[in-house]
Symmetry: C2
Subunit: 164 residues, 2 copies
Amino acid sequence: MSSFDPTEQRLAVTCRRQPAFPREPAVLVRLIKHLYKRVHDDANAMLKPWGISHAEYNILMMLYGTEGYTLNPSQLAEAAGEKSANITRLADNLCDKGLIERTASDEDRRKVSLTLSRAGLAMIDDFMPAVCALLESQTAGMKPAETAQLERLLKKFLGQLERD
Amino acid sequence: MSSFDPTEQRLAVTCRRQPAFPREPAVLVRLIKHLYKRVHDDANAMLKPWGISHAEYNILMMLYGTEGYTLNPSQLAEAAGEKSANITRLADNLCDKGLIERTASDEDRRKVSLTLSRAGLAMIDDFMPAVCALLESQTAGMKPAETAQLERLLKKFLGQLERD
DNA sequence: TGTTTGTATTTCAGATATGAAATATATGGA
DNA sequence: TCCATATATTTCATATCTGAAATACAAACA
């Protein structure tokens, strides 16, 4: 019994009432939504002891995954999947917490560099065991071939959404 | 070239820096986030002419997919994947727009019934062609066997997240 | 009956996210 | 040079969402 069952049941009724309604994409889209909400909530709960949100975590980790630990707000927006107005706010918060540093670029003065601070790096090292444990538990029941297949299909789906 | 490439690239760097970091679940979680944002934005854009949001659309469609077009806020919260405090607000808006009706239950006076109105039904009939077109375009590049496999794997993933 | 415990919904304050406009700088011609 | 257009970021008003507390009723039972 999954929390998704009531949703699926209601999609079935919709299909009966609207013969043109395409079940498969509708189910996929709603599964994505359910999964995202769940993953987002779990991540927020896990990160609570460190006083950062899932969105802030994503910013820190995108900087961490970059040579030089530095990105511009616009690169960060793409990597973290946030709108640029939101990046400004998140970066403000992370600066206030001392986890990143904001410096002006001199090569292009429109640009801003956001760099992981020493404290930001230390926090990542600190929460990393908890993050790894959560991530591992999330796929614990799936075989490597299944997760690889899921990755492939999700990328194909994303590619389709982004065509044109 | 996908908008996901920069993210994936940064996850690869993270794996190099943190050998314990499990790539596969991290990639899946971030793909889910990217997909959700995209689907959510596209749905909002498509629905704009009708003056409703993606979240409001989900409420309407969950009522539409129910015998009697009626649900309680708590059932709606589960079906639509929203927190109950949010259902109250969304239902308020939909009532103001005349798309649903709120009535007290007499069998259990704590409960509230939210019912699709005549105008709500008419709006669904009206936007249905655009909804179907969007949904179909979203999986246009995938074979039925692939979407079925994706559905199966997403359900397995969700099941894993919800164990315990 | 009265009391306790549980469930359904709403309220409220604060967090989070958004679009559109504003600001500042860059770039490529005329 | 001057101008038009493009890019990067922020600001601001508003929309959206959340947790926690408050409210209202139900159900079980001493």
